[in-house]
Assembly symmetry: D2
Homo-oligomer: 466 residues x 4
């Protein structure tokens, strides 16, 4: 790695899960568009063909005339090859297959438990964690061995437990988790600012927010743009929603050019009223952290969509989406289609630049708690703001959560500690102790045990495969 | 107060709620049987007639030839008179009437929520707390004014919040809460020791236990008698229960002379299996701290009794019991009946002696957390062991709870903090924030709000500034 | 106050100590040069004549054609008038007179204790604190009464105890302490960067540092400029100093245009070697926090200056400087001399802008510890980085200090807590408990008691209830 | 080990340092006098001859008709043999020889630093720790390997760091440190009770004290006997001392039958006046924790003895004492002299009985801080009360120290952490960081470095020998 004249060259990025059709290509575009960086991206994936395709695509993108940064892509046969000499490691894998995911998401439905995503907490999130933790124990060991000083960026879900596992295994690791959910909340605040504050065209990263919570259940208790207090504007919007209904706040209001999605959902306003803080993740994520009876008990799609503004993501829809991506990849590799070279709205490359000293900024990040989130145990992975600078990530003090929110966050944190131990020790009775405490799993004890056993069975290939 | 030759005379005890027909008479007997103490008991009650009856009864008891300690009883018209000059204050009141209690316990039943006691947590416990806190704010202020150095013993439920309120209002108070639930657990351990260890006749205070938790949800993680580890014996009993059913452990086993009650209930064995700790309160209390679906959803009396070993205490049964007590009191005051002079099995008088330097011992007590219960916020009132000595109560380090139990205890602790604030500020929207998080109140949000409002209405006479 | 179009008008700043000849005029210049702000500065001083002079001077500056911001200055007769309606309060007073200061600084010399400043810790700092705390108790009460929502900037020494007193008296206060000592360390790092890194012209606020400690005893453990690690460059400079002497690092090296002062002193290099962190306050301040025998025992001026690079500031020199300032003021008020309108290098106005939403940035600040400085008790006032934004100051996590530095900082923190209590309760026996523990006061106990009593006597006019 | 009928037989005690002429024989007597215990004591010592002598002596004692307990003694050639199967391990060694100790104690004298013991803190204590830590790392590893469940009692100094090292190396160890210094304080309180309270014949273990601090610098803030507050009596004694001098409190007062030593020394009264707590270790230990100028600067023997009541223990006197013991041992082994069979006043055997369930009691103990001493970091070894029961040691909450004492204790705790790291990593530059901060080492930096290097050299055989 060479760092001079505001440029860094000869960087090596190891990409674990390098066959990714989604995240990997966003990275390729962002790297290509970044004039201050250049180097090598080493792709490792258990699906070697997919990694190979990405080499073709990545090198093609990098070779295009519009590409500002010069990058070479390679696919390697072992994780050791990828990690050796790496300055940065990206962890972005799919733990298991859609077969396991179908169990995670849909097995609980026979007991009336519906999940909107199923990859974070809830029955699906817990089972997914149990099969993911052993993989991350292994990643941490390999990183300790081959590139202990590298910065490690995790994109894999469940974000909190993946990051927590890395630190548990190799405490000296320099890892953090990145997630774009808060960015959407900032987009929504920008729209609120436009509609209720009369200021348009503000980029989401110009919106200043104090973020606190755990990944996918994050909250904003202070938000401003220059001299404007956005908490007050959000209050106005929420009050209007409460008195006049969702249409009144949305119809013709959400700035047209960004589309419907750039507006808080009914659930967001409801939660703002309940807790006094702005929900800073998508409704379908937030809802999974709370008792099932609160927002998930009416499970027909229309009700959920109309009443609360979110849908249940089925595994079938994921498979369909993947099939399309595979087809698209074939066309791109064959040269029949071109990747559109545009910024991804993700922040990975910006953080790389920050850690290399090319930019200093504040953003939200998932790292172990060292006091930034008051009331949550030390070491638990929390999501809050940090200052990104040359070679360091310094958390800001996020402060306290209101007591009723704190007890909900704490419940999940303690559950995650149990799941961590379960995964590390492969003691699945510990996993059930967390499972039965999950707010989506509020049911007869015999039933919850039967469901847990069934789901564990459904993911057992990844528990025994160690 | 005079302290010499291992005797303390001229003590003054202020008894707030001094018309009590139950606790007050236990105290009268214990004092009468105690040769090292003598003095004055000053009874204050809003029911002055009841206090007057107790003066008659108390002086009669003290005058009997078997009485070892000499005590004079008086009824006073103001709390100021009772407190002035007091060395000890006993707080033992009924907050509200059976009318309010009927709402606490039975109003939730229309939503399918059953409570076995309804005075600690759960919907009933929360509403009861809201009307009790203002009373205890007042007690704390009066104590600060009239006898700031007195030791204050609270017997009133909800124990935790009553004690917490005293410290919140007058931080310099020397208060603690006493409860006999743990004593029963020790009686049960004595029975277990007899049946599975072959040692009989062991008094409950000879059983050494490490107690941890919050009042009515206490746990034992270490128990021994001399060289015998009682955790191991309990494990044997629980295993037998699991494999052969409750009859196998109980029938013909629970030592006959003490009766049926001196044996762990099925729920106790179930919880021991789940958490690895011995439940140290009665089943009907423990069960109210856990999700309603776990043990309360089958509400017909026989099922609960047979399956888990506890019953739902109705307010009707309380009224009937009180009526009998009133009749009995009349007969005693009239001289037609005599109070049986026997030890109460309560520990109040022993603690008095301890604080006066007449005895040093370890027992369980409710005081603010100063680190004795790891993982629970400072200042929250917890129940654990303390050393009682001349003029001081020194908590022992109770240590940690298992994570899945910790998250349950923490939930209630946070809820209690919310209820405290709600009661102090008379801000009942805060009370609902706790209400909705209670594990017995797991339901549709509209319904829980309707229930809360109805219950609040039912207790509104006691909420001053609503 | 009006906030629109990136401008804030109708601000009211209350300046307590508004007769100041130094800090007040720096503020006048900075305000005049700031185009985004305008309003009223209300000066209060017990020296009303001095405040009156500043009105004349301030209005003249504001009226000059080069002035970008429009400000009106007034002198008021009561602190109430100054505070009422204030958006910001500046506290910048001299506690006592030079007579008291002479005792602070010089009385210990007869026992061989020399102080380089005598206003922070050490015997002088402790006595100064004892007479300042009652004044700050009063300020806090007045602020609570007349402008509880105002931001309060303290410039008065002892910085730590003044700020601590404000929070102790009025916990809801929005106060912080500002000090420019760290700025000099950043200037020095800019010079190091020029000499050893070959990059010149870098402004001190472009240097990114992680600041930690207590005011006047602050340390930097991470420093960078863009991609350059300044800790490494400082190491090179310190090694050269160690092997070749001070001249080798300085002569011809310290960038000429800024003069000699812009270079670490020998003491700085020595302390960097000892602790591995860069000292971030002037040598004459740092040295007062450490055992007298380490760096203060050779007290002839030449030795100290040559060996360690700092001098003892006598009260005589302060008086001479003040006399000059008084003369200068007369000339300015008479119109015979003009204030040079240039930026002050202080940061007060920038922080005002930050809190008004006109700029977001990270700087070092003195506020109560809420976890930002690991190992130091909650509530103690510490100095470290914070993010300044609209309406909020968010500390960054400064992390830990090395153990040998932590124990030194902790000693002073505990001492400051003792002095706080001594000042609040006017219990001067508590003050002696701190006095005798100060590292500059390492002596026979009889002597330290005699010295303390003498110094207390010397400041007794300011100790109300002795 | 068999535990039945209130007797435990077949115990195995491993005694590391089993050639001891002092502690080992006290243990032999206490074991012989204890009717409830019997078993094997396995002695290991690098001085195998000395261990062999103790086998002869121990078996002889055990065989005497007055011996109540039956014990067999063996000397083994390896630590493995001693530890295998042990229920208890006693660590009681002399780290290094008198040659090293002479350097510890006397080398600093040429710089005017006198030490009264030199084995705990101060220059001597630090150097001694540096050579002892590697030995204790080794002990911890062997215990983990051969008897991980055994209870480990440490008697070796420096007590705090030896115990800390055991936990640092093997966190699962069940170790604690025992020291008799507090017992003497309790004897003194018994004498105070006799003289000022008129109650005689009270045993030291009947005196109830709240102990807090670190070994050899322990304090009592609550003391009572039955209904009598001993803090008040101590105050009377200290006041008399202050006004009338030491003779007034002592002459003819210290109960004759116990001799002079059973009375607080002038230093104790002085410290009680200074801190409000009763010093609970001998004056010669307490004094080493405080600045040298306070009590050690007058070093002629008579002054120290007369003014403060303690003497400097020279290594010469230790050698002379040892020579006598060697002679005595020869006579005993030869049968020319008999060991007097009397209780030792030590508490080791009582604690054994407690841990075996034969007795439950409160005593002071050295274990890692888990919150029992507020303000001191978790994990640091502190001395305070604990409840001893079957298989467990439960610390009581000792509470807070006054701020000026806390800062002194904290200084030593941080220093000990530095010395621990220095010893573990064999990084002696870290040791100097502690050395220079020790309150006895308040001197020119060049001199302290020279002294440290000299002392390190003097102990180097034990640093290189690893």
């Amino acid at each position: 790695m060479n760092n001079s004249n505001d440029k860094v060259s000869n960087l090596k990025i190891a990409y674990i899960g390098g066959g990714s059709r989604n995240w990997a290509r966003k990275l390729m575009c962002d790297l290509a568009l970044e004039p201050q960086l250049s180097g090598l991206v080493s792709l490792f994936d258990i699906d070697q063909e997919a990694a190979g395709h990405n080499v073709t695509i990545g090198n093609a993108i990098s070779g295009r005339s519009e590409a500002a940064g010069t990058w070479r892509y390679e696919a390697v046969a072992t994780i050791e090859q990828a990690l050796t000499g790496a300055d940065f490691v990206i962890l972005s894998i799919l733990p298991g297959t859609f077969e396991e995911m179908a169990v995670d998401v849909h097995a609980p439905e026979k007991y009336g438990i519906y999940q909107s995503v199923g990859d974070t907490v809830g029955p699906g999130g817990i089972i997914r964690a149990l099969r993911t933790i052993p993989l991350f124990v292994d990643f941490a060991r390999q990183i300790e061995r081959y590139c202990p000083s590298a910065w490690v960026i995790n994109y894999t879900n469940p974000m909190t437990l993946c990051t927590r596992t890395l630190y548990d295994t190799f405490p000296g690791i320099k890892a953090f988790g990145c997630c774009h959910e808060v960015f959407s909340a900032q987009e929504e605040l920008s729209a609120i600012l436009e509609v209720f504050g009369g200021v348009s065209g503000v980029e989401r990263f110009e919106i200043e927010t104090n973020v606190k919570g755990i990944n996918h259940f994050t909250w904003i208790d202070r938000a401003s743009y220059k001299g404007i207090d956005l908490m007050e504007l959000y209050r106005i919007a929420a009050d209007q929603f409460a008195s006049e209904g969702y249409r009144a706040t949305k119809e013709g209001r959400a700035p047209r050019q960004y589309g419907d999605w750039r507006w808080p959902k009914p659930l967001h306003f409801e939660l703002f009223d309940r807790y006094g803080l702005i929900p800073a993740a998508g409704a379908r994520h937030m809802v999974e952290f709370m008792p099932h009876e609160w927002y998930m008990s009416q499970t027909d799609a229309d009700t959920l969509k109309n009443k609360w503004g979110f849908e249940l993501t089925t595994v079938r829809s994921r498979i369909e989406y993947q099939d399309k991506q595979i087809e698209e990849t074939k066309r791109i590799v064959a040269g029949d289609e071109t990747v559109e070279l545009k910024p991804s709205k993700e922040e990975g490359v910006r953080i790389l630049k920050g850690l290399l000293g090319l930019e200093t900024f504040v953003t939200n990040i998932n790292v172990p708690n060292r006091g930034q989130l008051v009331g949550i145990p030390e070491g638990a992975v929390v999501e809050s703001n940090a200052l990104i600078q040359l070679g360091r990530i310094t958390p800001l003090q996020a402060g306290e959560l209101p007591l009723d929110l704190l007890s909900l966050v704490a419940l999940h944190v303690y559950n995650q500690e149990l799941v961590l131990k379960a995964g590390i020790r492969q003691d699945y009775s510990l996993g059930y102790k967390a499972f039965v405490k999950d707010p989506l799993v509020y049911m007869d004890l015999n039933k919850s045990k039967a469901l847990y056993d069934e789901m564990l069975e459904g993911t057992c290939r990844y528990l025994n495969a160690r």
